[in-house]
């Protein structure tokens, strides 16, 4: 690898690292925020009754009514959704970041990873098996 290539690689690495760090930080602070609101509400109000029988909301309307009545579950739910989506969005946004750097080898790598995640989720959800 020539020196010029090395310099380009280094600046690309720094750019990608920065993008990744921003996504991770955003995901982490949003998650922590929702969780803290949820836990504070939980301790202030106690575990509210009524609560859902299962673990997830069945409609957006149901979720919304929990949210506006400041039910802790709504905030803990939002935090969990943010948490799970952070690594997935990290992969997705990296595709764009590598594309911007014209590093098409890694655009390919990241697209493959993203597709495998999507396929795993579809198969896992349809067949009710854990594939990750």
């Amino acid at each position: 690898m020539s020196n010029k290539e090395k310099v380009t690689l280094k600046s690309e690495t720094q750019f990608i690292n920065r993008v990744v760090a921003i996504i991770l930080a955003t995901g982490m602070f949003t998650t922590v925020g929702f969780y803290l609101i949820g836990l504070i509400l939980l301790f202030v109000k106690g575990r509210p009754i009524p609560d859902l029988a299962g673990q997830y909301f069945h409609s957006f309307g149901e979720f919304f009514s929990y949210l506006v009545t400041l039910h802790p579950r709504a905030f803990l739910y939002l935090g969990t959704v943010c948490l799970i989506l952070t690594p997935v969005s990290r992969v997705f946004i990296s595709i764009i970041a590598f594309w911007r750097e014209k590093d098409f080898k890694y655009v390919g790598v990241t697209v493959i990873v993203f597709l495998v995640i999507v396929i795993s989720v579809i198969i896992g959800s349809v067949f009710k098996i854990n594939v990750g």
Binding site: L24, I117, S125, G132
Partner: protein, 294 residues
């Protein structure tokens, strides 16, 4: 309720801290803690553990990317094999008995624990002598630019490295994926061992990169659990917050420790995990109970 939450939070801090030190998710601490201490059903515990593994990965990776220890390119490249491995694992699980897999994985982990223990002194010597820098890397690693450097705080030195045996390393990483899909073990242990013992990546770079990768594997599982409605947010929240805090603390300490210390902790965790896997395999396959099985 408050006491239970606080206890869960404290256990999670502990799991997050050690997970960040050695580059694993910490599920091997969280799952037994939730089932034994808090008497939660195993499925609830695994689901909560998977979500909190994402949390430790995000917190740990954020710190390691910031310290430039994580090799994002290497992580992305190996994620192909781990995610694909996890997908394949789901199908193998239908064909093979769980106990066979437990025995195979247990033996594999034992083997890698021994390799890791035997190389714990060479690692510090390689760092001191610049042995990592002089290794050239193989063809695939040159094509995929799998090289990098980080500043080792314990040795106060910039360590440059190039990946070797990229194909073999990818294969082992795909096995890590298979294991995590099948047996609910986070692949971190196998990922770190593959990068460090096989691909010639310095221990700390392997830890930082593994921590970064784990989130993707765990998120894939978590989405499936989430859609199936298996995630109890009242348990996940304190555990995830605790692991985030622990992982942040652990990742700030890690670079200050000598690699042989990290490798010794790693070895102990591997021996424990390997023993648990083999004991589980012997129990379900031959109804033979080893002492200390969780």
């Amino acid at each position: 309720m408050f006491t239970t939450f606080l206890l869960m939070f404290l256990v999670a801090i502990f799991a997050g801290f050690f997970g960040a030190l050695v580059g694993i998710g910490g599920g091997i601490v969280i799952v037994p803690a939730l089932t034994l201490l808090f008497h939660l059903p195993i499925h609830t515990a695994i689901a909560a553990s998977i979500v909190s593994v994402i949390a430790t990965s995000i917190a740990g990776a954020l710190s390691y990317v910031d310290q430039q220890i994580t090799n994002v390119r290497l992580g992305m490249f190996l994620e192909i094999s781990t995610t694909a491995g996890a997908l394949v694992g789901a199908f193998i699980g239908v064909l093979m008995h769980g106990w066979t897999l437990s025995l195979i994985f247990g033996s594999l982990i034992f083997y890698m624990a021994i390799v890791s223990y035997r190389t714990r002194k060479t690692e510090d010597r390689l760092i001191e002598s610049g042995g990592y820098t002089s290794s050239g890397g193989d063809k695939l690693s040159r094509i995929m630019m799998l090289e990098g450097s980080y500043h080792d705080e314990a040795a106060d030195k910039e360590i440059e490295y190039h990946a070797t045996k990229t194909v073999e390393g990818s294969l082992i990483s795909s096995i890590a994926g298979v294991g995590s899909g099948l047996l609910g073990i986070g692949g971190g242990v196998i990922k770190v061992a593959a990068m460090n013992s096989m691909m010639g990546i310095p221990m700390k770079a392997a830890v930082g990169t593994s921590k970064f990768m784990i989130g993707v594997t765990a998120a894939t599982s978590a989405v499936v659990y989430f859609i199936a409605g298996g995630i109890d947010v009242y348990i996940v929240a304190p555990v995830a917050l605790g692991t985030m805090l622990g992982a942040t603390a652990g990742s700030m300490v890690m670079n200050k420790l000598h690699s042989r210390v990290i490798k010794t902790v790693f070895f102990l965790i591997m021996v424990y995990l390997g023993y648990q896997m083999i004991a589980k395999g012997l129990l379900t396959g031959f109804n033979f109970k080893l002492p200390g099985l969780l």
